[in-house]
């Protein structure tokens, strides 16, 4: 049996919650996000499509959805950063008998608004929304969406007929938006009782009618809490923006090598900045030209720029899935993604430069970031340089005595080092020019 490594998490740490096809991993780092300690695998052998961190109401709770091809899917939580996990005897997310449906996969776990600390959502396959009002103890099917007349005509995408995106409007308790592959975007304006499709302007490339009311294969939708009426959408072909909460959508795919892709991530502090990772096509779901490029817009979709520093630009035919990219809430923001080839990349400067954090993982299906407790200020290169300059300037004038002490100490250290060296290495008898000079002076 594979041994599971544990991590010790401190206040101010940044966590990466990495779900793979064969288990989950937790990575922790200080706010600098340069070195990562790796914990896991948790649930070895089980696929983990969704993870999240719930820090509302004084909790520090990790959630993971585990799925076994044989034994089914269940939601599990940990209050000690992965040392122990719940393992409910009865499946906690289950379709009521009258639906005749059975759970295949839990695609998304999403804590509700901060002022509703008992609320959690999860999105599942077959496409449905489940809600918990008791912090995840019990879950119930959202009947309004499940009873929607469109549901009979939703079709499974490559990953199955799943509800994968849940966006509670942070400024409006009544508004909740979900996305389904393939069904499209649905929005409720009455707290989840009734739902309407919100796909006007989004193309369905794979249907004879390119602009149906519903049936679009939406891969991901994001919003910024400061501007919840504006949404960005990565479609199965197409990049879109909505400025009216999803009532209408405009194409914003300008300057991208392909507008096909799965993942999409909102910048934590800038409502105009969004990240995507384009793939060549639905036929060939790999990075175009073998270049692993993240694309970023900083003008709300007006233009997109490739981010390549530190990412392989040759022979990198990679696939990044819909939930395998995320951002943390630090400043500067961290952006992270995992590939189907089991690599994890990260940037601690908002995407300008990247490093490969980890390789050799099972195929990565989900990546989430969390900051534990209060984030500590991050030392940027500029700040470090300023600190170094300050440090070089003498703060205290060394007195003759302290100065002499320092010199003696340094000399003692040199002697110890020299002795150690002479013990380990054979004594050199070769006369150097300096020695010859010294010997000549002595003779005189």
């Amino acid at each position: 049996m594979v041994a599971t490594r544990q991590i010790t998490v401190k206040d101010g740490d940044v966590l990466l919650l990495v779900g793979t096809m064969k288990g989950a991993f937790l990575l922790r780092s200080s706010g600098a996000r340069k070195r990562w300690e790796v914990g896991g695998p948790y649930f070895p052998g089980l696929s983990v499509y969704a993870m999240t961190f719930d820090d509302r109401a004084g909790r520090q709770r990790l959630w993971a959805s585990t799925n076994s091809m044989h034994w089914g899917a269940v939601l599990r939580s940990s209050d000690d950063f992965g040392r122990t996990w719940t393992n409910p005897e009865s499946a906690n997310v289950r379709f009521p008998a009258e639906t005749g449906a059975s759970l295949k996969q839990i695609w998304k776990i999403r804590p509700g608004r901060r002022d509703e600390p008992g609320t959690l959502y999860c999105g599942v396959e077959p496409a449905a929304l489940f809600e918990s009002r008791d912090a995840g103890e019990t879950w119930t099917l959202n009947p309004g969406l499940y009873g929607h007349p469109h549901r009979a005509r939703w079709q499974p995408g490559g990953g199955g007929l799943c509800l994968h995106t849940i966006l509670p409007d942070p400024s409006n308790r009544e508004r909740l938006l979900v996305a389904i592959s393939t069904g499209g975007v649905y929005r409720s304006d009455d707290g989840g009782r009734t739902w309407n499709s919100r796909n006007q302007g989004v193309r369905a490339e794979f249907l004879p009618d390119k602009h149906p009311e519903f049936g679009q294969c939406v891969h991901k939708v994001v919003l910024h809490p400061a501007r919840p009426e504006r949404l960005f959408l990565q479609n199965h072909w197409g990049l879109y923006r909505s400025d009216d909460g999803g009532d209408s959508w405009q194409d914003v795919a300008r300057g991208v090598p392909s507008d096909f892709g799965f993942c999409m991530v909102m910048h934590p502090h800038d409502a105009d900045t969004v990240y995507i990772l384009p793939l060549e096509s639905d036929e060939f779901r790999c990075t175009p030209d073998g270049k692993l490029r993240v694309y970023r817009t900083r003008d709300a979709g007006g233009s997109w720029e490739p981010l390549t520093r530190g990412l392989p630009q040759r022979d990198a035919l990679e696939t990044v899935l819909r939930d395998a990219m995320t951002a943390d809430t630090m400043n500067p923001a961290g952006v992270y993604f995992g590939t189907r080839s089991g690599q994890l990349f990260g940037s601690s400067d908002g995407g300008s430069s990247w490093t490969r954090i980890l390789g050799g993982l099972p195929p990565v299906v989900s990546v989430e970031a969390a900051v534990v407790g209060e984030p500590k200020p991050v030392r940027t290169a500029k700040k470090t340089a300023r600190r170094a300059l300050k440090a070089r300037a003498p703060k205290r004038v060394a007195t003759a005595r302290t100065g002499a002490k320092r010199v003696v100490k340094a000399r003692a250290k040199r002697v110890v080092r020299a002795r150690a060296k002479s013990r380990s290495a054979p004594r050199r008898r070769v006369k150097t020019a300096a020695r010859r000079g010294r010997a000549a002076r002595k003779k005189k």
Binding site: H70, V74, N87
Partner: protein, 93 residues
């Protein structure tokens, strides 16, 4: 002893680590036998059957050496002293 259940590795976390469970019940069918198993070890149920009570697609239940998929499903009759095996299918990737 009426029936014996043979428990695969993954499910032993719900049977106190036991791979073989004997039951005094005298069930007429596999479905009834499994109900007894759920009563003794509730954690096994939702792993073997869906919330609609159907055996999961990648789980096989055998009575002796015969899969119940070919003998009437959960209505398959169970003889006195039968061994009921719960086995994961050889699927995966």
């Amino acid at each position: 002893m009426a029936v014996t259940f043979m428990i695969p590795g993954f499910l032993r976390q719900f049977t106190d680590g036991r791979n073989r469970l004997a039951s005094d019940a005298r069930p007429a069918t596999v479905g009834e036998a499994l109900q007894h198993l759920w009563a003794l070890h509730p954690g096994v149920r939702d792993r073997v059957v869906t919330e609609q009570g159907e055996v999961r697609p990648h789980v096989n239940v055998f009575v002796g050496t015969e899969s119940v998929r070919f003998t009437g499903g959960l209505a398959t009759p169970v003889a006195e002293g039968a061994e009921i095996w719960i086995v994961p299918a050889v699927s995966g990737g």
